[in-house]
Symmetry: C2
Subunit: 193 residues, 2 copies
Amino acid sequence: MHQQLINYINNHSTVPLTSEEETLIAASFHFRKLRKKQYFLLEGDVCRHTAFVIKGAMRQYSVDEKGVEHVVHLFLEDYWASDRESMIMLTPSVYNIDAWEETEILLITRAEMLVLMTKVPAVAEMIRLMDERNAIANQRRLSSAISSTAEKRYEEFANHHPRFIERFPQHLIASFLGITKETLSRIKKQSLR
Amino acid sequence: MHQQLINYINNHSTVPLTSEEETLIAASFHFRKLRKKQYFLLEGDVCRHTAFVIKGAMRQYSVDEKGVEHVVHLFLEDYWASDRESMIMLTPSVYNIDAWEETEILLITRAEMLVLMTKVPAVAEMIRLMDERNAIANQRRLSSAISSTAEKRYEEFANHHPRFIERFPQHLIASFLGITKETLSRIKKQSLR
DNA sequence: CACATCCGTTGATATTTATCAACGGATTTT
DNA sequence: AAAATCCGTTGATAAATATCAACGGATGTG
């Protein structure tokens, strides 16, 4: 059950895990299964866990005053999901995270993760790498949100995240890009010519 | 000259620096002065240094096919400037970073920073803290770029970054927010009513 | 001092994107 | 199998924002 996470860590660090370390990791993460639409994080709650997605699909979104959902992140297998701000600051989250498909995740608290990072160097290395990649991806996304048209953003997104397009319906992709589903529909139609 | 950085590190970590550590830090950072408009990073170059701003103001921006500048970051005293993607991946940067006012910075390479982090725990701690804050700030900015109107984005920006408004002209603020200077001018006029 | 440049503003207009409403096909639920 | 919900599309229209042009005041520069 934890094998996928073990593989993931080995693939994202330079020192292979010893079997003791593997045991320690397995003991630190707790398995949980989410049915479709079930919440991993509810707006207003403090985010206590980081989730590693073993199988399935989730989305993170806020809901504005008018009740409109704004998707800020999408997750598939091998993604890490959490609200970092809420978890670190211990403040109520403004986001919801729920399962789009039936989903299996491995959960760990921040405290446990910090301990694990000191005990298992490969985990610390992997986390640092993920933080780095995450920072770079966010910078790119921000840059394109500020300076690109809806069409270019979709194009770039489609090139970088073909798996998302296969797994999530178009109206979630639109929301993720910050446009309406109607606009995305028209963009796709146009760009065929 | 390095005193400001020393203070900064002490203010952003839990263990005070020893005088040996202070010496080490002072030896790792190199002072540089930039005239107005002088570049710290030029598009196409690989970003080799991180800059700590002692005094002055800088901006980071890309230039699109039409020659329009898009400001992605603004920096004042006590800010860290670099293009992380370029520095880590060793790829040519798509950004320029230049001085808006006459600016004094302290420079350090990534390799030197990594060494310093192992030798001085307080530096490692401070960097981790900055990474965290940065990740949170980027998440917020992304979220508002995707889901807020130009007016709300400006309002939020003005509340969170009053110093930027004092130091940078309005057209740079507009670009930072992803809108034109004309639109920002009209937004401000409207919101007076 | 004279000249040039920068900066914010305004008006007129064009473009992009959102909103609202409706539809048909697919899928899920009962 | 029938009913309900979800999903993508389209049309008509409204709202938000960009573009282009011009101006006057401020600031910087030779």
